[in-house]
């Protein structure tokens, strides 16, 4: 019986100690700058801050999630990864038909740390279980449909040059911590974050190779 208790406790500790990060596209953005200096991304939470936020979830609960919101709808500006880079290493001019597509599921992105899971259902990503609804209620998010807009852009690329299309934008970040209980025992905990792209701006740059 003692062995079983020890194994069970170790299992719970292992789950709680896990700090794997379920990342989304926005975490590959070249730069994300908050409008307010004291705001930060989940990945930049200091250990002591994270511990402090977890104290807000100190009380026990029979079932379900307790959620603490650290940042709610903070405005950010970002420079996305390069959307497209086309090289012309040849000796003649080439014409490119570029199709740019913007999908709503990339406009609402999520990530989590600890033992909080992120699931992809079709093209839509969600937090594990009932946590998704709890977080969306806390931050006032309701949209989950998948839509897309696309258009073509036709461009000439001279020999020895390359074309880059860069996306910049504005977005809203919400993040915090959450803990799940099962018969008053904490079974999962970690950090969560949502990143909603509100506006995208595009830029074309043509440069010489080398």
């Amino acid at each position: 019986m003692k062995k079983a208790m020890v194994i069970a406790v170790l299992a719970v500790v292992a789950v709680l100690a896990s700090r794997s990060v379920a990342a989304d596209t926005y975490q590959t953005y070249q730069e994300i700058v908050f409008a307010e200096e004291d705001e930060r991304l989940l990945q930049d939470f200091a250990e002591e801050d994270y511990a402090d936020y977890m104290t807000h979830l100190a009380g026990k609960k029979m079932f379900g999630w307790k959620v603490f919101v650290v940042t709610k709808g903070a405005e950010v500006e970002f420079v996305s990864e390069t959307k497209l880079k086309i090289f012309n290493n040849g000796f003649s001019t080439i014409k490119h038909d570029i199709t740019l597509e913007s999908k709503l599921e990339t406009k609402f992105q999520i990530s989590a740390t600890g033992s909080i899971g992120v699931k992809a259902k079709g093209d839509v990503k969600k937090f594990d279980g009932a946590l998704d609804a709890s977080i969306k209620t806390e931050i006032g998010y309701s949209k989950s449909e998948v839509t897309s807009e696309r258009y073509e852009f036709n461009i000439i690329v001279d020999p020895g040059t390359y074309v880059t299309i860069v996306m910049r934008g504005k977005g809203l970040v919400s993040n915090g911590v959450a803990k799940n209980f099962f018969f008053w025992i904490a079974t999962k905990q970690g950090g969560w974050e949502t990143f909603t792209v509100t506006t995208e701006y595009y830029e074309i740059i043509k440069e010489k190779i080398g």
Binding site: T147, R150, I156, Y202
Partner: protein, 310 residues
């Protein structure tokens, strides 16, 4: 036993009621909103798309079904351009008017089979005409559209090296304030840019106010800061001017809005220039500088409501 029979019957009627509610037939009519706005398209080939926005109060309406559209055209009473339906996509935005919620859709078309190099079609107060497979027709006012058929990047006397737009907020509305463009003469002897046309009705480039830039400014830099911190309205008058391109440079070219702030985010650029006594126009394909603004009354475009019976 009676109790069980009653319970089973009650469950049966409850389930039947839920199924009947779920199986509610699609409404016989659909309400449609269109907004008069400004469109600018450079058509480079048969597959190139142009698009217009309509809002529908029923996402299941036949009007949102590509297969239900038999043919389409853009028509302003003087010019008609036949269009081939290519895609109907929900943008994810919705709009409430008179207590009715409308979902926004982008209707995309090609001009398949039509080629008219160098020609500019200027539609004013145009309607998007959709003829449906059931024989009914809808004509939805979409405003002004300039459509140019041509090859981007031609002729080869000059090229652009950088392109993005600067957006400012004026009277609470975000709108294009200018373009940042890198230009490079490819002639060795230079060219003189005499005009820049953004091909968008109601918006004009003010080439006379061009600013030569040392560094690329942020995409939201206040337009006044380009002119020593003065305040400058987006409704100012355009000033004609020239840009002499000996080699190349990076330029800020402000744009002005005619009468009211426009919501344009996607447009072509036509650069008129002189070279060795001749005149030519260099075309840049219509580029989406920013996510389109959602369907809104804020920009003053007239909104039209329609009720289309199946």
């Amino acid at each position: 036993m009676k109790k069980i029979v009653f319970a089973v019957l009650a469950l049966y009627f409850a389930a039947a009621g839920v199924l009947l509610l779920l199986d509610e037939p699609a409404a016989e009519t659909v309400r449609i909103l269109s907004i008069e706005s400004e469109s600018s398209f450079l058509i480079t080939d048969a597959a190139d798309r142009l698009s217009f926005t309509l809002c529908l109060d029923d996402p299941d309406a036949f009007v949102a079904d590509l297969g239900a559209i038999a043919s389409a055209a853009l028509d302003d009473g003087e010019t008609i351009l036949a269009l081939t339906p290519a895609e109907i996509a929900a943008t994810g935005h919705s709009f409430v008017r008179d207590g009715v919620t409308y979902d926004e859709y982008r209707y995309s078309f090609t001009t398949d089979g039509i080629s008219s190099d160098g020609v500019r079609l200027a539609f004013r107060d145009a309607s998007l005409v959709l003829r449906f497979a059931d024989g009914s027709t809808g004509a939805y006012a979409v405003g002004d559209a300039d459509i140019v058929f041509g090859a981007p990047g031609e002729p080869r006397h000059l090229d652009f090296t950088r392109l993005y737009a600067v957006f400012n907020v004026e009277a609470g509305r975000e709108a294009i304030a200018g373009i940042v463009i890198g230009l490079e003469a490819k002639t060795g002897t230079g060219v003189t840019v005499t005009d820049i046309d953004v091909g968008c009705p109601g918006i004009a480039a003010s080439v006379g106010e061009v600013v030569v830039l040392a560094d690329a400014p942020p995409a939201d830099q206040p337009i006044g800061s380009f002119y020593g911190g003065t305040t400058r309205s987006l409704l100012a008058a355009a000033e004609p001017g020239e840009i002499v391109l000996l080699d190349g440079g990076l330029y800020f070219i402000p744009v002005v809005h005619d009468g009211r702030i426009r919501s344009a985010t996607r447009f072509m650029i036509l650069i008129s220039y002189e070279y060795e006594g001749g005149r030519a126009t260099f075309a840049i394909d219509d580029f989406s500088f920013r996510t389109p603004f959602p369907f809104s009354e804020e920009y003053g475009g007239e909104i039209h409501g329609y009720e289309h019976r199946r």
